[in-house]
Amino acid sequence: MNDTTPVLSIRGLTLALPEGADRDNAVEDVSYNVARGEIMCVVGESGSGKSMAANAVMGLLPKGVRPTAGEVIFNGQDLLTLDEKQHRQLRGLRIGMIFQEPMTALNPLMRVGAQIAEVFEAHGRYHARERQGRALALLEEVGIPQPERAIRAYPFQLSGGQRQRVMIAMALALEPELLIADEPTTALDVTTQAQILELIRNLQRRHGMAVMFITHDFGVVAEIATRVCVMRHGRIVELGTVGEVLDNPQHAYTRALLDAIPSNVVPQARDAERQAPLLEVKHLRKVFRSRGGLFKPAREVRALDDISFTLAPGETVGIVGESGSGKSTLGRCVVRLEHPDSGSILLSGTDYSSLKGNALRRERHRVQMIFQDPYASLNPRHRVGYAIAQGPMANGMPRAQAMRRAEELLELVGLGAVAVDRFPHEFSGGQRQRIGIARALALNPELIVADEAVSALDVSIQAQVLELLDELKHKLSLSLLFITHDLRVAAQICDTIIVMQQGRIVEQGTAPEVFLTPHEAYTRQLLDAIPGRAHEPAIA
C-alpha cells in the first residue's frame, strides 16, 4: 500500500441536482482521497450517487447537475474551476475512464484501431502513421487475442470482454495518473469478469496508477479494492481499508448490504417430494445458423445439444451458465416462444412441445415467464392493472373480473391494489419486477420460467424479490425454472442446479452437491471466478 500524497483529493463535494429531482443533491459533502498505487472502490446501489463524483472529476456531469460546494483537487489543481477546454486537455491524457457497457461504449462504425488512435490524435501525440503501431502495442498489452486482426475489427465483431479490453487500452493509451472505472465488469460473464479484474489489477501495478473503481458488487470490492467508500443517498456511509469495511463494518447499511449478498454458505438441502415429474425435457436440440464475423467464421451454433432433465412439482431447478450457453434458449423453448429442432417437452406426461393452435392456447397458461428486463418487458403506455389483466382477458375472463384479479395479484406481490391505475414508469426496478411476477401469476400457472429475473436489480432489492418468489412458490404450490448466470443466486433459491456450457449440460445435481463438491472443471472454474469468493467466509 502506498499512502503518500493523493493523486486525487475530493473535499466536501456537493453536487446539486436540477429542480424537481427526488432529492436536492446528487452527492452531499463527499470527501475522499485516491492515492498513487491504490484502488479505491466506491460502492453503492443505484441512485446512491456513486458515479457522480467521478463524472465531476472527468468534467462529464449530466446536464443540470452542478457543483455547489467543495473542491476536487487533482495534482494540486481544483478541477471544478477549469473551463471545458482546460478540462478536455486532462481527459484521456492524465485521467482515463472506462464505462459499464462495452457493447455501446464503442462507436459501431469505426474500426477499433482508429478509435484507439483517436486518443493520440486528441492530444496531438505521434504522427498519424505511428498511431496505429501504438494502438497495436496497447491491444497486445491488454491481452486481446490476435491483435493484428482485432485492430482492423469493428466493435460488433468482438465479444463483450474483448470490447472491454479495447476500452481499457484506450483509457491507458497515454498512461494517465488516474484511471476511473465505472462498473467496468457489471455487464460481463463471471469468468470474463474475473479476467478483466485481473487485467485491471495487473495494469494498475505495472503503471502505478491511482484507480477509482465504481461498483455495486461487494464481491468485486473484496477482489480488487485497497480502500472502500460506501455510499448511500449521496452521502458517504463508511470509508476505510478493504479489511476494515468488509470484516468489521461499522454502519448498519454496510452490514445490510453485505448480508444481502447471496451468500456462499452451504445451501440447505431441501426435500422436494419425489412425485411424477411436472416437466420432462427430453433430448432437446436447437441449432442457430450464424453468419460469420472476423473471429468466428460462418458456422452453426448448437444452442441446445441433447438437453434432458426433469422438474418435480414444487421443485426449483436452476439453469446456470454464461452468455451463449443456451440457457435462455432452453427457457424460451419451455414456454414455447422458440421451437426446438428435435426432442420433446412433456408437461404432466403430455407432449407440450407439439401442441398447436387451440390445444396450445388452452394449455399455454400452465407455463408462464418472468423476463429479465423489468423496464423493457412492460408496455409503457398500458396501466399496470391492464398489463396484468390482459392475459386472463385473452383467455375469456370478463374485464371487470380480470381487473379485480389484477388487484389481488398486486396485493399478493406486495405493491397494493392502488397500483392498478399507475403506469410502469412510476415504479422502481424492483417494483416493476414484482409487476412482472404478478403478470406471470395472473394465469394460474403451474410452472414459472424466470429468465435472469433478478439480474438487473440491486443486491438488497434482489434479496427481496428472491424472498417473494420463494414465498409465492410455497403459497401457490408453483414449480420454478430459474435461469441465471449467477451461481450465488442459484444456490440461494434452487433445489437442483444444472450447469450449462455451449448448449450442453456440464453438470447437474442438488444445490449443495454442485456448490460444495463440483465434479466438472467448468463448474469449479465458474465457482472460482465468483468475485470475492476468497473473502466470503469473513463476509458471511
Partner: protein, 325 residues
C-alpha cells in the same frame, strides 16, 4: 467479390420485378376508360366505322389482349417501347429526348436538398435550445408544410417579376443561340428556381431528420467515450455523432432518388421545364398509352436501380450489415 455477387443477384431479381411491373402497367392501362382509336378518329374529324377499324388494325388494337401483351413485352425485351400515335415518333426517342432535362433538374435538386438539409440539420442539432437552432427548425417546418406549387409561384413572382434576377420559365433563352460556356450559364440560370423549389421540401425533411437523429446519437455511450478521450467537440460532432446519425438519412435519400424521373411533374409544369414530367402529363391528357407505359417503365427501372444503390451505400456506411440477402 462479395459486392460483385450481391450486385449480380440484385440485378437478376430486378429483371423479374421489372417484368412483373411491365405486365401490371399494361393491364392497368387496359382498364382505363376510353378507346384510343375512337379518340384519334374523333380528332381527325372522321367517325365512320371503317376508318376506326383500319386504325385498330394498324395499331394492333383489334388483336386479343394476350397477343397485344405478348407483342408489347417482347418489344420491350428488344428495347422497342412502341410508337407514340400522337407524336408520330418512337416512344424511346421521345423519352430519351426529355430524360436529360429532367435528370438535370431532379439531380440538382437531390444534391442540393441532401447537402443543405444535412448541413442545416447538424447546425440545428449543435444549437439546440438556442434561437438560431429554433429558427432553422421553424424554416424547415414552413418549407415542409407549404405546397410546392405555391412556393414555385411565389419564387417566380419575387425573383422573376419583381427583382428580374432569374428567368421564370423554360430551360434556355429561346432564340439567343448561346453556345459553349454561355449556354451552360444560361441553363444554370434557368435551373435555379425550379431546382430550388423542388429541393425545398426534401431539404426540410433532411433537416428535421438529421437534427433528430443527431440528438439521439449524441446521447449514446460512445459519445461519452469520445468525450472521455478528450476529443474536441467538433470532432465528436462530425466523426461520432454525424456519421452514426446519417444512417437513416441514406434510406430516405434512396427514396427521393427513386422519384427522379416521375417526381417533378408539378415543378416542370409551373416552370415550363421540357422534361419527362410534362411529357407524361401531355401523354395522359391525350391518352397516348404507349408513351405513358414507356415513362412508367423508366420510372420503375430508376426506382429499382436506386434501391440497389441505396443498399450498397448502406452496406458501405454500416459495417454491421453483411451478407448477400
Amino acid at each position: 467479390m462479395l459486392y460483385a455477387r450481391l450486385i449480380v443477384m440484385r440485378l437478376l431479381k430486378a429483371v423479374v420485378v421489372l417484368f412483373l411491373i411491365v405486365i401490371l402497367n399494361f393491364v392497368l392501362i387496359q382498364l382505363a376508360p376510353g378507346d384510343p382509336a375512337a379518340i384519334m378518329a374523333g380528332e381527325a374529324g372522321a367517325t365512320d366505322e371503317e376508318f376506326l377499324r383500319q386504325l385498330r388494325e394498324r395499331f394492333g388494337l383489334d388483336q386479343p389482349l394476350y397477343v397485344q401483351l405478348w407483342r408489347y413485352v417482347s418489344g420491350i425485351a428488344m428495347l422497342d417501347f412502341g410508337w407514340s400515335y400522337r407524336q408520330g415518333m418512337p416512344v424511346l426517342d421521345l423519352i430519351l429526348a426529355r430524360l436529360p432535362a429532367t435528370l438535370l433538374l431532379t439531380g440538382t435538386a437531390f444534391v442540393l436538398s441532401l447537402a443543405l438539409g444535412i448541413l442545416a440539420g447538424s447546425m440545428a442539432a449543435a444549437r439546440v435550445k438556442k434561437p438560431s437552432g429554433s429558427l432553422i427548425m421553424a424554416l424547415a417546418l414552413i418549407f415542409y408544410a407549404t405546397p410546392l406549387f405555391w412556393v414555385a409561384l411565389m419564387a417566380v413572382v419575387l425573383f422573376s417579376v419583381y427583382l428580374d434576377w432569374l428567368p421564370a420559365y423554360g430551360m434556355y433563352t429561346v432564340g439567343a443561340g448561346h453556345t459553349g460556356l454561355a449556354l451552360v450559364l444560361d441553363i444554370a440560370k434557368h435551373l435555379v428556381l425550379p431546382a430550388t423549389t423542388l429541393a425545398l421540401f426534401f431539404m426540410a425533411i433532411y433537416t428535421r431528420m438529421t437534427r433528430a437523429s443527431m440528438l439521439e446519437a449524441s446521447q449514446q455511450d460512445y459519445v461519452k467515450t469520445a468525450r472521455a478521450k478528450g476529443l474536441a467537440p467538433r470532432v465528436i460532432q462530425r466523426r461520432h455523432i454525424l456519421r452514426n446519425a446519417l444512417l437513416p438519412i441514406i434510406t430516405l435519400a434512396g427514396l427521393q432518388a427513386g422519384q427522379m424521373v416521375g417526381g417533378a411533374i408539378l415543378t416542370e409544369t409551373v416552370f415550363a421545364w421540357p422534361g419527362i414530367g410534362r411529357l407524361m402529363f401531355e401523354a395522359l391528357q391525350q391518352r397516348d398509352y404507349n408513351l405513358l407505359l414507356g415513362i412508367f417503365f423508366f420510372s420503375a427501372a430508376l426506382v429499382i436501380v436506386f434501391n440497389i444503390i441505396t443498399d450498397l451505400v448502406y452496406r458501405l456506411a454500416d459495417p454491421r450489415i453483411k451478407g448477400a440477402s
